[in-house]
């Protein structure tokens, strides 16, 4: 099962994990990215390239399924304006054993951060808006997967 989508609503994590648990594997791993509360942050805007985003997410999920023996991969990314505490991205994997589930989960979020067409902009309490700069650490994290 490969499930990759760009969504405006928050992912239902219990439902997503239930889908993965139903695949008969022994290990389910997940990662959820949340809008972190920071001084002066009012909201976080996720700009997407919709026509390409879903295909890019699907290709990243497919790459994980090609590299690890997975029973299921889920990769959901939101767009729009999100409040502090809201879910931005959900990654879930199911495998027979824990190592591929956990490794693929780390791979998926590293690649989603560097290879999917989304851009973050902070909305500040003072009304200003600021584009988030790409981080070298994210490029390095993605590069470790070759």
């Amino acid at each position: 099962m490969i499930r990759a989508a760009i969504t405006s609503a928050a992912p239902d994590i219990a439902a997503e994990l239930a889908r993965l648990e139903a695949l008969g594997g022994g290990g389910i791993a997940s990662f959820t990215g949340i809008v972190r509360g920071e001084d002066g942050l009012a909201a976080l805007e996720l700009e997407a390239w919709p026509a390409m985003a879903e295909r890019a997410l699907g290709e990243i999920a497919g790459e994980a399924a090609a590299r690890w023996p997975l029973l299921g991969v889920t990769l959901l990314h939101r767009h729009g304006v999100l409040e502090v505490g809201e879910r931005i991205v959900f990654v879930g994997t199911a495998a027979a054993h824990r190592a591929p589930a956990l490794e693929a989960c780390a791979f998926l979020i590293d690649w989603a951060k560097t290879k999917a067409p989304f851009w973050k902009r902070e909305h500040r309490d003072d009304g200003s808006r600021r584009w988030i700069e790409a981080r070298h650490a994210d490029d390095a994290a993605a590069a470790r997967w070759g």
Partner: protein
């Protein structure tokens, strides 16, 4: 004469002030970088959006490619900053 559809995202879109446009493919532009030079020469928001090539990324017909990639017969070129989702 062929038409090239340009798409702009995030900081690039904001500086240029529009999310895309259609142009006639310039005969002199062999690579994406050549075309970016021509766009930047328009000045104003274009110059600002495209000034820092180290923070500019591109996709041709929805494939990420480096700026020195040939335009060839692509129909769509997207220009944007490095992605920051996830």
């Amino acid at each position: 004469m062929s038409v090239l559809r340009l798409l702009y995202f995030a900081r690039v879109r904001e500086a240029i002030g529009r999310d895309g446009e259609e142009i006639e493919r310039p005969a002199m532009a062999e690579t994406i970088a050549d075309l970016v030079d021509l766009l930047a020469a328009r000045g104003g928001g274009y110059a600002e959006a495209l000034a820092d090539r180290s923070r500019l990324r591109a996709a041709l017909d929805q494939r990420f490619v480096p700026l020195d990639a040939p335009l060839a017969d692509a129909r769509e070129l997207a220009l944007f900053p490095p992605v920051t989702g996830g």
